[in-house]
Every structure is written in C-alpha cells, then in structure tokens.
C-alpha cells in the first residue's frame, strides 16, 4: 500500500496496523466508559433534583436519551464507513460497519425499552404511536435487516459491499421515514401525548445526561474495537501477520 504511507490518516486503514492499535485503544475507552458512567449515575441520582412534574421516574432519561442518540449516530457512522468502503474500496471500513451494527441495534432496543417503561407512568401506556418511538422502531428493523443481510451472505466480499449499499439506502431513507412518521402522527393523534415538549431541565439534569451520552460514546468505541478485532483476524487469516499474532497468543497462553 503506497498510498497508506503517504497519508498518515489512511495509514491505519491497513488491517495489520489497525489490529494492534484497536487492541491498545479499546481498554482506555472501556475505562473511560466506566468512569463516565459512574460519574453520570452519581450526577443523575444524587445531584440532579426530583422533577417537579414527573417525580423520580424522569431519571430514566439518563439512559433513554443517550441510547436514542447513540442508536441514530451509530447508523450514521455505519453509513459513513459504508460510503468510505464503496468509494475507496478499503476492507476495514466494511468490517467497522459490521462491528457497529449489533451495538447500534442494542442501543435502539434500549431506547425503546426505556421509552416504554418511562411512558407507562407518564402517559399511562407502555406504547403510544408517537413519532419518535415509531421511527425508533423502524430504525431497529433497519439494523436487523443490515445484520441479517451481512450474515446471510457467505462470501465476505459480497457481504461487505451488499451491506454497504443497504446501509446507504437506509441512511437516505431514515430522514424520510422520520418525517413521514411525524406527519402521520400529527394527523392521526392530537397533541395529547407528546415527547417533543421536553420538560424544562435543570442544569444538573442536563449535565448528567451529557455525561451519560459521553459514556455511551466511549462504550461504543471500546466494544466496536473489540468486536472488529476477531473480524479482522478471520478475514486476514491467510496473511503472515495474523500467523505472528496467533503464535504470540499461543506463547502467552
């Protein structure tokens, strides 16, 4: 890879350089995630005051909102890596997209689950066909579709590229889905239930939420790096450097 030498940014696009880098970085991000989570939970449960309207239930917000953000960001990042893979034909970017998908689906499910548990005491129902909840549900289906498609294709190169196209088509459709659902929601339901009117939040509440959002970023980066490592090993198993990695692992064991 001559071009890999010239651009320092693209240097780590080479799997044999990225693999050890990922292994070195992941524990730091995991540690950051643990510390940020502890700080966020402390802020959320002990510093942030009780909400005047909702009482203590609102404390679900500290995971609900970061999870919802994360699930959307991860889809965007997947689409970004897919576009990079399509344009520059790099192998690593498709692996990154596939390593991101399960975590995105997990956060998507967490957002739905916490939304339902939060909704029961505040709206009186576990599920309402609210625009945000509904588009979140459709996003979960998009994640499932991506995971199912990339797992169903045995040839890894075809899986990479088919997944990339699906992620890009999905990314074009996500805003369309969101706005159509919002439109549909305003036509079919009055403003009786709505998440859009966020309660005015105290600064400490906002702080706790932001810290938790950072924690979920750190967690996502750590777990994705950990997930992409074995993917790289499998894809590159015929190369010499994977042989070296396996031998040193044997020596340690």
């Amino acid at each position: 890879m001559e071009s890999g030498q010239r651009f320092s940014l693209f240097r780590y696009a080479a799997p044999h350089l990225f693999y050890p880098l990922a292994g070195r970085l992941a524990p730091w991000f995991a540690a950051a995630a643990v510390i940020l989570t502890l700080v966020g939970l402390y802020l959320g449960f002990f510093v942030a005051p009780t909400d005047a309207v909702q009482g203590e239930v609102y404390r679900v917000i500290f995971i609900h909102v970061p999870a919802a953000w994360m699930s959307m960001f991860i889809y965007l990042i997947m689409a970004f890596w897919s576009a990079v893979g399509v344009v520059f034909n790099t192998r690593l970017s498709a692996m990154m997209a596939q390593a991101l998908a399960p975590t995105g689906a997990m956060f998507c499910f967490v957002a739905l689950w916490t939304g339902a548990l939060w909704g029961r005491p505040t709206w009186g129902a576990y599920w309402v066909w609210d625009a945000r909840l509904t588009s979140q549900l459709l996003l979960l289906f998009l994640y499932f579709g991506f995971i199912a498609l990339t797992r169903a294709i045995e040839d890894p190169r075809r899986a990479d590229r088919a997944g990339a196209i699906l992620a890009l088509v999905g990314a074009v459709n996500v805003p369309i889905i969101y706005f159509s659902v919002k439109w549909w929601n305003t036509l079919h339901q009055g403003a009786s239930v709505s998440l859009t009117k966020a309660p005015s939040m105290a600064t400490t509440m906002l702080m706790a939420m932001l810290v938790m959002a950072l924690a979920s970023w750190a967690y996502t980066i750590a777990v994705v790096l950990w997930r992409v490592r074995p993917l790289i090993l499998e894809r590159e198993r015929h190369t010499e450097w994977v042989g070296d990695v396996l031998e040193t692992a044997e020596g340690r064991a």
Partner: protein, 222 residues
C-alpha cells in the same frame, strides 16, 4: 442506447405474458388479503370505509413484496444477467427497463383491480379515484426500492424473508402517504400535498434507486 431499454422491456413483458399465471396469482393474493380484513374486524360499513385505504395499500405492498423475486431471479438462474452486465450497455438503463416491466406486470393489474375491491369496502367513487391516483404515484417507488432489495438478496438462502425484512421498513413512508392521501381527502383537507409527496418520492427513487440496484447486481453476480 434506447434500443437496449426497449429490448429488455419487450423481453421481460413477453416472459411475463408466458408466465401469466404468476401475475394472476399475485392479483389473487392481493384480493384475498384485502378480503380477510372484514372477517377479522367485522363487516360494519363505517368501520370498513375507514380502514379501506390502509387495507388496500397494505395488501398492495405485500403483493408487490411477494412478486419482487421475479425481477431478477430467472435471469440470474439462466445467465442472462451476467451477459447483460458484461455488455457495454449502461447497466442503469436495462435495470430501469426491468423495474418498469415489473411495475407494468404487477402494480398495474393491482391498480386495475383496486376499484372492485374498493366497492367491497363501500368506498365512495371520488375516494376511490384518489386511491387510484395515490397507487399510480406510489407503486413506482415500491418497484424501484423493491428492485434494490431483490438485487441485494439475489440467490441467497431464505432470500424471501430477508427481502421482506430489508424492504418493508423502507415502504412505510409510501404507505403513510398513500393511505393518508385518501384519508386527507375524506377529512376535507385535500390530498394534493400527499400526492405531490408521492410523486416527488417517485422521481427521487427514479433518480437514485437504479444506481443502487445496478451496484447491487454487480456485487451479486461477481
């Protein structure tokens, strides 16, 4: 250039004519799905009139979904697809011809049959007209997006279920605006906005989907 388009279109229509039983089965499926709803929710005329646009749109969606595998699978099996991909003609062009052939052989029969089903649901004539218009503007998106899904799942085990999982979430906006057009007309707010959005969606899909479809086909056949 245009000759490829016409040639592929002619060939696909001819094949569809030879296998016209397939087209009829799709049509029968559409009818049966729509007819199931009164058994499920009761035959109260007011209720039926309210759910009719949604039911007919969902039935059209599912019928399209079941017919999607026809777009490429036969050509994939007998090697025509490979030939077409190797030919110097622009892929997007003949992909478009195939999608158009799919639309003509599945969506158009559904649209022709829809007024009869609308009668079963006691829809008024003017509401039926809006429904037909929404189907005319919306079903091209189904064929175009569905074509991408069909190309992505070409030749995969369990491709049918996978195709449904990939494509149905993307169909939701079309369902919303398609059925919403009739609802808006009945509510007196006018269906123009919905129909324009459907038409705009069709144009957008027409501009983007063939490229994605062509790329997916190249990946599948390689």
């Amino acid at each position: 250039m245009l000759s490829v388009f016409l040639e592929v279109l002619r060939r696909d229509l001819l094949l569809a004519w030879r296998n016209r039983a397939d087209v009829l089965v799709t049509l029968a499926f559409f009818t049966i799905v729509a007819c199931l709803f009164p058994f499920g929710v009761g035959a109260e005329p007011n209720l039926l009139r309210t759910i009719a646009p949604g039911v007919l749109w969902v039935a059209a969606l599912l019928a399209t979904l079941l017919s999607l595998h026809r777009v490429f699978s036969q050509d994939h099996a007998d090697g025509v697809l490979e030939q077409l991909l190797l030919s110097p003609e622009p892929t997007v062009l003949w992909v478009l011809a195939k999608v158009l052939a799919h639309w003509l052989t599945t969506a158009v029969p559904l649209i022709v049959a829809a007024p009869a089903l609308a009668l079963l649901f006691d829809m008024t004539q003017s509401a039926t007209e809006v429904l037909i218009l929404s189907l005319l503007l919306g079903t091209p998106i189904l064929s175009l997006l569905g074509g991408v899904g069909a190309a992505l799942t070409l030749g995969l085990r369990g491709g049918g279920m996978l195709l449904a999982l990939l494509v149905l979430p993307l169909f939701v906006p079309i369902l919303i605006f398609g059925a919403g057009a009739v609802d808006a007309y009945l509510a007196g707010t006018g269906a123009t906005a919905h129909l324009m959005l459907l038409g705009g969606g069709s144009l957008g899909a027409l501009a983007l989907a063939p490229w994605a479809c062509a790329a997916a086909l190249r990946i599948a056949v390689e």
